[in-house]
Structures are given as structure tokens and as C-alpha cells.
């Protein structure tokens, strides 16, 4: 079930927690490492409810890939070719070999833990300010460990500045250098 209604944008001022955010833009640097390869680039991530646009670019602004989801239709553009699928995670895995926890990443990147029924044995640790410090959760067919290194205050929220996500064969490092909250 989706946490947010699809279209209407709540007024940020009325929001208590980042979990209520549904329309935001994040920019920064991302690394995806597998056992034998490290790829990194600058990302632009525009979330709109359950839909999003994500692009990863080189330091001189050349696009590496673009991923977007619009009403359950996933679209991935790489090397000038566009591929379609229903689930972004499967599409990315098929075309790049990367197992990325995309459906959960949108919450983890906000420093929010979405309580879903199937991962009851989730382990979470909070820091002294009650913010997420470590999550261990079963996602897809792997255990993901998420560690939050630093935070930044944006409006009334504390949002992650740097976090790392590890699964047995993938490591993702995110440094979020810019947040823009729309609603």
C-alpha cells in the first residue's frame, strides 16, 4: 500500500515528520559497488508521490542512465536506448545487473523506516536524537544493512546527508548535498 495519496500535495508547514513528505528533489553523489566494480556519479532524484525520476550523471554532466516510474510503468534509458517494465527493481537488475532496493530507497533516503508487514524481523537502532542510525531488513532476497553517517536540518526536518546501504553483493553510498522539498 502506498504511504501517500498520489496527487495532492500537503502543505509542508503542517507536517510533523519527514514520513509525510511526498514531493521532493534530492541531488548528490552516489556510488554503486559490486564485488568487482565501483561505479559513481552525480544523481538527480525527483519524487512525486509514488512516481519518480532519477538520473545519474558523470562529473562533466553526461548522462549514465535515467530511471523513471509513472503510475506503475517503469522506464530505464541507457546509452540512448529505452526499456520498459512494471517494476523498476527488476528492470534495473536485468539491464545493469545491480540489485537496488528501489521501492524502499525512497523512504530510507528520507531517514524514514516504512513499517511493512513482511519484514517483522527488522532491526533498527536510533541515535541519541531518535533518528535512524542502523537498519537491518530483509528486502528482495537479501538482507540489507543501512547505516546513517550524517544529517542535515532542512526546514523542520532532520534529513540524511550521508548513508550507506550494504547487501551481500551490492554496496550503495549516498551523499545528499541538496534537498528541495515541495510537499
Amino acid at each position: 500500500c502506498s504511504l501517500m495519496p498520489k496527487t495532492n500535495i500537503k502543505n509542508i508547514a503542517d507536517m510533523q515528520t519527514a514520513a509525510e513528505l511526498s514531493h521532493w528533489t534530492a541531488r548528490g553523489k552516489m556510488m554503486i559497488a559490486t564485488n568487482n566494480e565501483k561505479v559513481s556519479g552525480y544523481f538527480y532524484w525527483q519524487q512525486k508521490g509514488d512516481n519518480f525520476e532519477f538520473s545519474l550523471n558523470t562529473l562533466i554532466g553526461i548522462n549514465m542512465f535515467e530511471l523513471s516510474v509513472n503510475d506503475d510503468e517503469a522506464e530505464l534509458t541507457i546509452d540512448g536506448k529505452t526499456y520498459y517494465g512494471h517494476t523498476a527493481e527488476i528492470l534495473v537488475a536485468q539491464l545493469t545487473g545491480y540489485q537496488l532496493p528501489i521501492s524502499q530507497l525512497r523512504f530510507w533516503v528520507l531517514g524514514v523506516q516504512q513499517s511493512t508487514k513482511n519484514n517483522l524481523k527488522t532491526k533498527t537502532k536510533l541515535d541519541e536524537k531518535g533518528r535512524l542510525k542502523h537498519i537491518e531488513v530483509f528486502h528482495g532476497d537479501a538482507i540489507w544493512q543501512i547505516d546513517y553517517q550524517s544529517w542535515r536540518s532542512v526546514m523542520q526536518f532532520d534529513l540524511p546527508k550521508s548513508l550507506q546501504l550494504k547487501s551481500p553483493n551490492n554496496r550503495i553510498k549516498l551523499s545528499i548535498t541538496d534537498w528541495a522539498l515541495q510537499g
Binding site: 541531488r27 556510488m31 554532466g61 553510498k173 551523499s175
Partner: protein
């Protein structure tokens, strides 16, 4: 073709003066829908032939430096440095062209002059990631560089604090920090003095 020739000659004549040149840059990457995808700050240094330093300082450090023989691409975020032969430099980053005196390298591009900027495009367009490098001058002072990618994304570099002054060759070297992964993509790995070679 002679139109390109005169434009190439004019551009390369201007660039010859960039033999000891330092400046700051402010970068903004915009997609075809004018979303701002990325912004960065940094500094650059050019010395002819083949020496350049392109250092991003904000928001995350990253460094490209070439001594005309080896290009180091150091990415501290992933604790890795990639090494390329200088001849591969232009393929890795179009900025290397601005310090290249190699006719063969230049012959892979068409150059067109439009008002005060030169548009450099690779002749082999279909494999090219960068389809246009636009270099803008005020008289002969470099003021802007734009890199246009195949997806029509444009990376604009506004150049400021331009200084023509000799730059010590030692600046165009890179000391690989301990613990950095080395991704050596050079054809014939050679001993590079000052750097540990395996």
C-alpha cells in the same frame, strides 16, 4: 572544409596562449526540460602541451590531472583513482583537447566559429558521448565552456578569476594516497616516478 580549417587554426592559436593559465569555474548541469541536475564549483589550470588540472571542490571533491603522459582521475568518494594514457585523455574528458597540440587528435573533430564561441564536435558522432564542446571567449579571454551530451543535457562552466601566469609542472602530478584503489586503464603500465607501480 576550409571553413573548419580557419576556425580550427584560429581556436588553436588562441589556445596556445593558455600556457600557464589558472581560473575558477562554476558548473551547472541542466537537462532538456531545464531541470538543474547538478551544480559544482572548482578550479582549473592549463599548460601547453597536454598539462591540465581540473579540480572540483564543491559539493564533493573530485580531481582530473594530466602531466601530458598520464591522466589521473581521482574520486575520493569511492576511494579510487583511474589512470589513463594522455592519448586517451581527450576521450575521457573534452577539456584535455584545450591543451592538446596533437594534430592527429584535433583531426577527429570539426570546429565551427559562431560569434564569440567555437563549437567543437567529434566527427564520429554515433559513438560519442559528448556531441559538442562549446568554448566561449571575450576577445581571447576564456569565459565559458559548455559540454553537450547525447541526451541534450548541457553542462555549463562559467569561468572566472582568470590568471595568465606560469604554473609549476609539479602541480600536474598526482600522489596516490595510501589505500586508494588503483584502476589502471593505461595500455602499457610504465613506472611513473613518484608513484608506486606494481
Amino acid at each position: 572544409a576550409d571553413v573548419t580549417k580557419t576556425a580550427e587554426v584560429e581556436l588553436r592559436t588562441i589556445l596556445k596562449q593558455y600556457n600557464g593559465f589558472s581560473a575558477d569555474f562554476s558548473q551547472r548541469v541542466v537537462d532538456s526540460e531545464l531541470n538543474v541536475l547538478h551544480e559544482a564549483q572548482g578550479r582549473l589550470k592549463f599548460k601547453q602541451p597536454g598539462l591540465f588540472l581540473w579540480e572540483i571542490t564543491e559539493p564533493e571533491p573530485e580531481l582530473l590531472v594530466s602531466n601530458g603522459e598520464t591522466l589521473w582521475w581521482f574520486n575520493p568518494f569511492i576511494e579510487q583513482v583511474s589512470l589513463f594514457d594522455a592519448s586517451q585523455a581527450v576521450a575521457q574528458t573534452p577539456f584535455a583537447l584545450l591543451v592538446s597540440q596533437d594534430d592527429e587528435t584535433w583531426s577527429q573533430f570539426t570546429i565551427e566559429k559562431q560569434q564569440n564561441h567555437f563549437v567543437v564536435s567529434p566527427k564520429l558522432l554515433d559513438q560519442a558521448q559528448v556531441i559538442e564542446l562549446k568554448v566561449t571567449f571575450k576577445d581571447t579571454l576564456l569565459t565559458n565552456i559548455a559540454v553537450v551530451g547525447r541526451t541534450m543535457q548541457v553542462s555549463q562552466y562559467a569561468i572566472s578569476n582568470q590568471v595568465f601566469a606560469d604554473v609549476d609542472n609539479g602541480l600536474f602530478q598526482f600522489e596516490i594516497p595510501l589505500g586508494t584503489d588503483i584502476d589502471d586503464q593505461r595500455q602499457l603500465p610504465k613506472v611513473v616516478d613518484g608513484n608506486v607501480e606494481y
